[in-house]
Point group: C2
Chain length 206, copies 2
DNA sequence: CTATTAATTGGTCGGCCGATTAATAAAATA
DNA sequence: TATTTTATTAATCGGCCGACCAATTAATAG
């Protein structure tokens, strides 16, 4: 009755990554023990060290893996964007939609912030920012966007409005409720920030 | 030579709170040990249990204490605000300025909502939100603010623009640099979000 | 002044943490 | 098939964690 057990190193490695990410993002790095992860993945604790050397190494791999997807996608979004208001708006929708489908990245960023985790992948982020910055400046030079606000602040608000939503969405629901809001809450918020960001909050003149 | 040492329970208690807050906010709850705190405060570890029963109790007290100051101040800000655009702008400045002088609160808030265990704080926050919401709705009814955006989203963006800055300011500086920006970076950002939030990003027509 | 309470100290406890090791079994290689 | 490599397991390590306790000393109440 000795069932010949099959081995699949890549699968177990992936299972560990998956379980670890779930627990880390829920409780944070410091509040998570390797036993937690092993239990969740139903894999022996020792295998974590076998594949990732250390708890820190595991966390690092989770972060970089997610971040690379994030960076690649963001690069596409930015590069496709033309310096016109229309396409800038499309970029915002793309970016928002990406975060919506990959909420983990927002939580990772949140934990990095909270636990003062000096994450070195920020070099890549800087490069992305620089590209986006050029687009905004071009749009400003073309008169498509007001130029009395520094382009950096514009881009920062752009990014922040999206990230902040997925970071504090729970908070929003708890405090504000959802009565009378579209069942697709995300889309409702997106519509709102597009209006505010691209039109301003003053009543229309015409 | 036995120097008669004086005791000051309130002072030591306060010293413990101060040290604990510093370390907790720097490294996070899970990454902090009671030894860290005791060492920093130069007070025996046992006294932490004497005053706060447990590590969790200490953390809980730090959070609620800061939050209460936050809530009180925010109540003042909100209550003073009249449903006019001018006074709403003043409220934003007040709120921003408060966060600027109490940067800890941003981190604490992030934790309170990440570990949704603090019922008192959540409840109180909800009450504050409701008051602010009424003001916004009044302003909308008076035609001072556009009413084609749900008041909840407006308030959420209002708060988020301020909080997000103090949460990710470091990232901004690292990624964007500060060349050509006012040496008072906070004020520069505040000016920017006022322009964007209250006027929109489209070029002026007049 | 005495008795009681509260603050402070140092030492100690069991337990879990992350990490390591040695042994075993499956895969890959030759 | 024989041999090497790699995946997996279980047992174990020292260390530090949070918590507790007993003794000491200052402050306070009577």
């Amino acid at each position: 009755m000795t069932s010949k057990q099959i081995r699949n190193p890549e699968a177990t490695r992936e299972a560990l990554l998956e379980a670890a990410e779930a627990v880390f993002l829920e409780k944070g790095f410091g509040n998570t023990s390797l036993s937690d992860i092993a239990r969740r993945a139903d894999i022996t604790k020792s295998l974590i060290h076998h594949y990732f050397n250390s708890k820190e190494g595991l966390w690092q791999e989770i972060k970089t893996r997610r971040f690379m997807v994030y960076a690649d996608r963001q690069l596409e979004i930015i590069q496709d964007a033309e310096p016109s208001v229309e396409l800038l708006r499309a970029s915002l929708v793309f970016y928002f939609d990406f975060l919506k489908r990959n909420p983990q990245i927002v939580r990772i960023l949140a934990w990095i912030f909270l636990e003062n985790d000096n994450y070195d992948c920020m070099q890549k982020d800087k490069e992305l920012i620089d590209i986006g910055l050029q687009k905004v400046k071009q749009a400003q030079a073309a008169g498509e966007i007001r130029d009395d606000v520094d382009a950096r602040f514009l881009l920062f608000v752009f990014i922040g409005l999206c990230q902040h939503w997925f970071q504090d969405k729970e908070h929003f629901i708890a405090d504000f409720g959802t009565d009378g809001l579209p069942e697709k809450l995300d889309d409702g918020y997106l519509e709102a920030i597009i209006k505010i960001f691209f039109e301003g909050i003053l009543p229309r003149k015409r």
